[in-house]
């Protein structure tokens, strides 16, 4: 008997002011191609995002491979199975490279395969080393679709493949290739949930799930006698963590220089321009001056948060990875460096202790701000929220820290 990969029991999901899914049930077994059918606004994307653990449930629960992953009491646990995803937005950063993104997606499963054949079929071979930002919308969509398919091809374990309108913007040749791969994944024993209006993909369905009523119909499908490629050789590769990814992207874009380091340098410059006014400072005030650039750097938060909002990259990472990308140790290093500079500029000497304190200050403040920024991710316009209004909460702890250090 086929193993159940996804089970949604009595789920209710609200979006905006409406209830999109109500008392909804769904079961996806190994080897199923489940096509979601329904008019615009019937809840297809919502169902895919709920299964991907991206949406909270008002009622019911969802299990992956018999392990509860999300329920109405707010529990959200990592999936025990490999999950790959393509949302309506591509989940890519413009500064990522095509091959790099596909490797990252595959490494989430712990193994990789040669993607040459896939890139050829999608006419992307010549773009393999290119930045995503240089691709056309259709090409970027192909990369997003491949990043959902390749992990399943690389994985030796059954995968859950979630695709929301993968056909959007694809030409006929690419659609033929996509349909072939979907059938192949079905034969390899993976489970696919696909939301689409495309008749070619619909014809591949083994199960049709209609929304909003939630009726499921099994389909006898002759298309399944497709000639299969031999099992592709895979090699073991460790996962890339969100911190590693964030670190790489920060160095590639130098976003930290534009955002955090500039704020710190400007603060340092302003304090130094006070000249004689800063000559007769108490010990606490002087330490406050030395550490102020580090605090300013931290108060700018983490540039990765804004970057990941571009194409719902954070959602993609949350679903397929182990968390959302962040800058990791970078703010700590920046804080240490800027405090060293500030210390030399103010006192003419290098103080290791102060440098360490500056590093911790910037790192902690930047990550605290990141958590605050990420807490607004569910909003329709997270960039429109005035999170900076809450940053003065950090001034008092800063003052208490200075007091403590100079006692």
């Amino acid at each position: 008997m086929a193993r159940t990969l996804v089970e949604a029991v009595g789920i209710e999901v609200r979006r905006g002011m409406g209830v999109v899914l109500s008392n909804h049930h769904l079961e996806l077994n190994q080897g199923d191609i489940m096509v979601l059918e329904g008019a615009n606004g019937s809840g297809k994307s919502t169902l895919i995002e709920a299964v991907a653990r991206l949406l909270p449930l008002e009622k019911g629960h969802i299990s992956h491979g018999e392990h509860l992953v999300v329920d109405h009491e707010g529990r959200r646990k990592p999936s025990p199975l490999n999950v790959s995803l393509v949302l309506q937005k591509n989940g890519l950063l413009g500064c990522e490279r095509v091959q790099e993104h596909l490797d990252i997606a595959m490494r989430m499963t712990g193994s990789t395969i040669d993607s040459t054949h896939f890139l050829e079929a999608f006419s992307l071979t010549h773009r393999a080393s290119d930045n995503i930002s240089n691709l056309s919308q259709g090409q970027a969509r192909k990369v997003a679709v491949l990043s959902a398919l390749l992990p399943a091809f690389a994985s030796s374990e059954p995968c859950i493949v979630l695709m929301d309108e993968p056909d959007a913007g694809l030409d006929d040749r690419s659609m033929d290739a996509l349909c072939g791969w979907i059938t192949e994944l079905n034969h390899l024993g993976h489970g696919l949930i696909i939301s689409t209006h495309d008749e070619r993909i619909k014809s591949l369905a083994t199960v049709r799930h209609h929304l909003p009523d939630g009726t499921t119909t099994a389909v006898q499908n002759e298309n399944h006698e497709t000639k299969l490629s031999p099992q592709r050789p895979n090699s073991q590769q460790g996962q890339i963590t969100p911190g590693q990814f964030g670190w790489n992207m920060q160095w590639r874009t130098l976003a930290w220089l534009n955002q955090n380091a500039m704020a710190a340098l400007l603060t340092l410059g302003i304090l130094l321009s006070l000249g004689e006014l800063s000559d007769n400072l108490t010990e606490m005030q002087q330490l406050g001056f030395i550490l102020a650039p580090a605090l300013a750097a931290g108060l700018c938060g983490d540039a990765m948060v804004a970057m990941c909002r571009e194409e719902r990259t954070a959602s993609w990472w949350y679903c397929v990875g182990t968390g959302t990308p962040h800058s990791g140790m970078l703010p700590f290093l920046l804080g240490g460096g800027i405090t060293l500079l500030s210390s030399i500029a103010h006192t003419g000497s290098i103080e290791l202790n102060t440098m360490v304190i500056g590093a911790i200050l910037t790192g902690c403040v930047a990550h605290l701000l990141r958590f605050a920024q990420q807490s607004t991710e569910r909003l329709a316009r997270p960039q429109a929220v005035f999170i900076g209004l809450l940053t003065p909460v950090l001034i008092l702890p800063y003052a208490l820290l200075l007091d403590l250090l100079t006692r």
Partner: protein, 233 residues
Amino acid sequence: MKMKVGEVLLLFGFIGIATTMLLAFLWAPSVSINAFESPAAQRIFYWHVPSAWAAFIAFGALFVGSVGWMFKRSELMWRIHIAGSEAGLATGLMTVWSGCVWGAAEWGTPWDWSDVRLNTFGLLTLLAIYLVLGRNSQPDGVETRDTFAAFGLYGFILVPFTYVATRIWSIRHPGPVIGTDDGGSLNADMGLILLFGTLSFTLLIFGHMLTSMRITSFEQRIEALQIQLDGGK
């Protein structure tokens, strides 16, 4: 046109506050010149303390509304959340502004970053600004409500913290003048005006919140009608 309860309370609140100010400037006894740098500025206390009291009521309503929305998904509770944040913003600004004026006269500086109570109260007011502006920047929906209700809950931690801050970490801000073990430091006339001001601000804040809830209710009805016209349910 028939006035609603909220508007009646608002009207009485305004009249009471205006009377309090008149009494504060014309009738309240002066404080000792030895105890204060700027004795005349002390009269702002009849505005400052009642508005801080009203702000605590508003932030209490914000907390109740946030909890109610998070656990009951109740429309009424969401209206209370909105009313609490708007009233908290209004009274928080009144308190902070009047405190700055008094601080400038008495301490020689309008703000002291090292004073816990000043800072926590300032932060509460910033939280109210954040909630009001943030909510206005988003379409209404469960995502918006969940997020801001969560911030409302976190912010409420600051209310008891602010209340006890004067007793524990008082650096510059004066300690409580009522509700203390020694019976307080106010004479009878001062206490009477303060009580009248507090009652007036209480009427104002309840009037403000009831009116705000009524406006939100109208907005929700308009939105429901718009959705109906769009062809939705």
